[in-house]
Amino acid sequence: MYMHEWALAEAVVSAVSQIAQREGLKFVSQVKIMVGELQQVELDIFEFALTQLKSGILEKAKFVLETVPARLLCRVCGKEWSFARNSLARDASEAVHFIPEAVHAYVRCPKCGSPDYEVVTGRGVWIESIKGVQHP
């Protein structure tokens, strides 16, 4: 199930390139990427994909990945809890890997049983910051 990491890496590389050009960077030196636990991204493969896909303005970029724990908050009773990857069956886990919101089909609030909860942190992948050198 790891090929999805390549699609995510492709999206990150494309987005960073766009931001870097918009900000007038000559090259990007570091990209900090937050990876939500809910999506169960395999970090090694994701990082490998990023390094394989980087080119041009990103050629020298170092990617720093940071995992963000997935916390869920029930809208009905207010219970907050952590997502437990091992609690899902294989099919469900794979579905959540591709579409994190599919969690609402398989996980219920441990206190009141509601499927109406918010993923407070740790949903998916986003770019936290980009460091680079500007054109003189």
């Binding site: 090929m3 987005a15 960073v16 591709f98 579409i99 993923v119 770019i127 910051s129």
Partner: protein
């Protein structure tokens, strides 16, 4: 940090959005089958239109974007809709159509999603689905002018809309607002399809013409459709499909 170095905070940048247009670059036309409200036959029009265009040797994709009430898999009788992993997701093929539905991920479970969740699912699916080369991508839109419909308009800038309406004044009232909204957003409307017509009336055709929108044609209420659901061979033989086929010809000839 000296003046030459710069740190950009990019937390508002969703990396997925940047690849969506690229994912659709091999798609010649993206047709959104929409409606002012639910229950007017959008999913049936979208599914059978996709089959008709595929029967005419076009490469066609069908994306069920109605996440709260997906039904195209039932219409098509598509039971195995597992996409293939290959640098993203390659849609499965159902009756010749490249097909994507949230059901591939929610299976038989209910999927209660709030507006933000729906947006996220839409972005994720548009960002990771590799449609490849298509003549038509048909999108079965969520009803009305919901968050989801607005998101699709935001994410896919070259949508062409078909609006499905029933002959009822109640439906037309919602269609009128949808047409106005699309005009404001400068989204092209191919026209309005009058579905489930049960008696002679020119009401909808006149109203649509008054708005300056093409009236694509009428489809009578066809009781045989219910028994044909899930069986594409029977669906193709319905009056519904025959009348929609005439409408499809008009769409093919649009530039």
């Amino acid at each position: 940090m000296d003046r030459k170095h710069k740190r950009c905070t990019a937390s508002m940048m969703d990396p997925r959005v940047s690849v969506i247009s690229g994912r659709l670059k091999g798609v010649k036309r993206v047709i959104a089958v929409s409606g002012g409200k639910g229950g007017v036959g959008k999913s049936l029009v979208a599914s059978v239109l996709a089959l008709i265009l595929s029967d005419r040797q076009h490469q066609v994709g069908l994306f069920d974007a109605d996440f709260t009430s997906p039904s195209t898999h039932v219409i098509l009788g598509a039971s195995k809709i597992q996409p293939l992993e290959d640098n993203g997701l390659v849609p499965c093929v159902a009756h010749g159509l490249r097909y994507m539905s949230i059901v591939a991920f929610s299976h038989d479970e209910a999927l209660p999603l709030r507006g933000t969740d729906v947006s996220n699912v839409l972005i994720e699916l548009f960002a990771i689905t590799r449609w490849g080369e298509l003549d038509f991508l048909i999108i079965d839109m969520p009803p009305g002018i919901s968050d989801a419909a607005l998101d699709i308009m935001r994410l896919v800038r070259r949508l062409e809309f078909i609006i499905v309406s029933t002959p009822s004044l109640l439906t037309f009232e919602t269609v009128r607002k949808l047409v106005r909204l699309l005009a404001d957003m400068k989204a092209p409307v191919l026209g309005v399809v009058e579905n489930m017509k049960m008696r002679e009336s020119t009401f909808l055709a006149r109203q649509v013409a008054a708005m300056g929108v093409p009236y694509l044609g009428e489809i009578p209420y066809d009781p045989k459709v219910e028994d044909a659901l899930g069986n594409v061979k029977l669906l193709r033989e319905t009056v519904f499909a025959r009348k929609l086929s005439e409408i499809a010809s008009k769409l093919e000839s649009c530039p």
